[in-house]
C-alpha cells in the first residue's frame, strides 16, 4: 500500500510560487486562505534557500492528537484529512502543527473564524469521490482520478515531489548522489520521524 509523502528539494526551488498558484486554482481556494506557501530562508542573501510548505500529512499528526472534536482521520494511503461538518474552528490544530498548515477563512462579521481548511494531498474529503459537495468543501480529488497533487505536478523545476514515499525518496536520493549535495530534506524528520539531516529515507 502506498504511503503518500511530500518532499521539497531546497536546491531546486526557485520561489516561483507556481505550486501555490496551482493549488489555489485547482481547488478554488477562497481569498485569504493559502493551503501551500513558499518560505525563503536568508531571503536576499547569496545562498538563500526556498521550500514549499503545506500540510505534510505527518505519520503521527499532532493536529489529530489535539482536535477536541476528533474531526481528523487518516486514509489507508497515509493522507491526513478532516471532516468540515465536524470541525468547530477552534484553532487548536493550528497551534499544534509544526508547519502552519491549518488555515481559517475569516470573511464573516467581526473577523469570525470559519472551519479549518488545509492541504488534502488532492484527496478531497469524506464526501463521495468527485462529487460537487466534496469539491465545494475540500477541492478536487485528484488521487481518485489517478493523478498526483497539482502543486507537485505543476512544479517547473520538479523541486516539489509528491507521491508514494518509496518513489519520492528514491528520486531524491538519486538527485543527491548525482549532484553530491543537498541531502537535507527540511521537514521530513518532523513529519515522518527520521532525524533531521539524515536525508530522505523510504
Amino acid at each position: 500500500m502506498a504511503r503518500m509523502k511530500f518532499i521539497c528539494d531546497a536546491e531546486r526551488c526557485i520561489e516561483c510560487n507556481g505550486c501555490v498558484t496551482a493549488c489555489k486554482n485547482e481547488h478554488e481556494v477562497p481569498w485569504g486562505v493559502n493551503r501551500r506557501r513558499v518560505v525563503t530562508l536568508n531571503d536576499g542573501v547569496p545562498g538563500e534557500k526556498s521550500i514549499s510548505v503545506a500540510c505534510m500529512h505527518c505519520s503521527d499528526a499532532p493536529c489529530m492528537a489535539v482536535c477536541p472534536v476528533n474531526c481528523f482521520y487518516r486514509t489507508d494511503e497515509g493522507v491526513v484529512l478532516h471532516d468540515k461538518d465536524v470541525c468547530i474552528g477552534c484553532g487548536y490544530c493550528s497551534y499544534a502543527c509544526p508547519f502552519g498548515a491549518p488555515q481559517f477563512p475569516s470573511q464573516g462579521t467581526f473577523g469570525v473564524r470559519g472551519k479549518m481548511d488545509k492541504c488534502t494531498f488532492c484527496a478531497g474529503g469524506p464526501e463521495a469521490n468527485g462529487s460537487q459537495a466534496e469539491f465545494e468543501k475540500y477541492g478536487r480529488n485528484r488521487l481518485a482520478e489517478g493523478k498526483l497533487p497539482a502543486c507537485a505536478e505543476m512544479c517547473a523545476t520538479k523541486a516539489l515531489l509528491a507521491g508514494d514515499g518509496d518513489v519520492v525518496a528514491d528520486i531524491m536520493r538519486n538527485r543527491v548522489v548525482q549532484r553530491g549535495k543537498g541531502a537535507e530534506v527540511w521537514g521530513w524528520g518532523t513529519a515522518y520521524g527520521t532525524k533531521a539531516g539524515e536525508g530522505a529515507k523510504s
Binding site: M1, G130, G163, V167, N174
Partner: protein, 82 residues
C-alpha cells in the same frame, strides 16, 4: 393522621426537588459516529472525463502502479534524461 399527611407532603416535595435537579443535569458529551468513513481513492470518481487513463477503478494495485508510474515519469527527470 395529621402527622402522616405532613410526612407524605415532605416526601412529595423532596422527590420533586430531586427530579428537578436531574432535569438540570448536563447532557452527555460523548462523541458518537465520528469521524465519517471515506471512500478509498482507488475506487475512483466514476467520471471518466477527468480520470487518468491506464488503471482500473476499484483495483488498489493498478491504482498504486498508476501513481508510481506517474511519479516516475513526471518527477524523476534523471531517469528521463539518462
Amino acid at each position: 393522621m395529621k402527622r402522616s399527611s405532613s410526612r407524605w407532603a415532605t416526601c412529595v416535595i423532596g422527590l420533586g426537588l430531586l427530579s428537578g435537579l436531574v432535569a438540570c443535569g448536563e447532557m452527555t458529551q460523548a462523541m458518537t459516529g465520528m469521524p465519517k468513513s471515506d471512500t478509498a481513492a482507488s475506487a475512483g470518481t466514476g467520471v471518466n472525463a477527468f480520470t487518468a487513463p491506464g488503471w482500473q477503478s476499484g483495483d488498489v494495485k493498478s491504482w498504486g502502479e498508476q501513481l508510481k508510474t506517474r511519479a516516475q515519469y513526471g518527477q524523476n527527470d534523471h531517469t528521463r534524461s539518462h
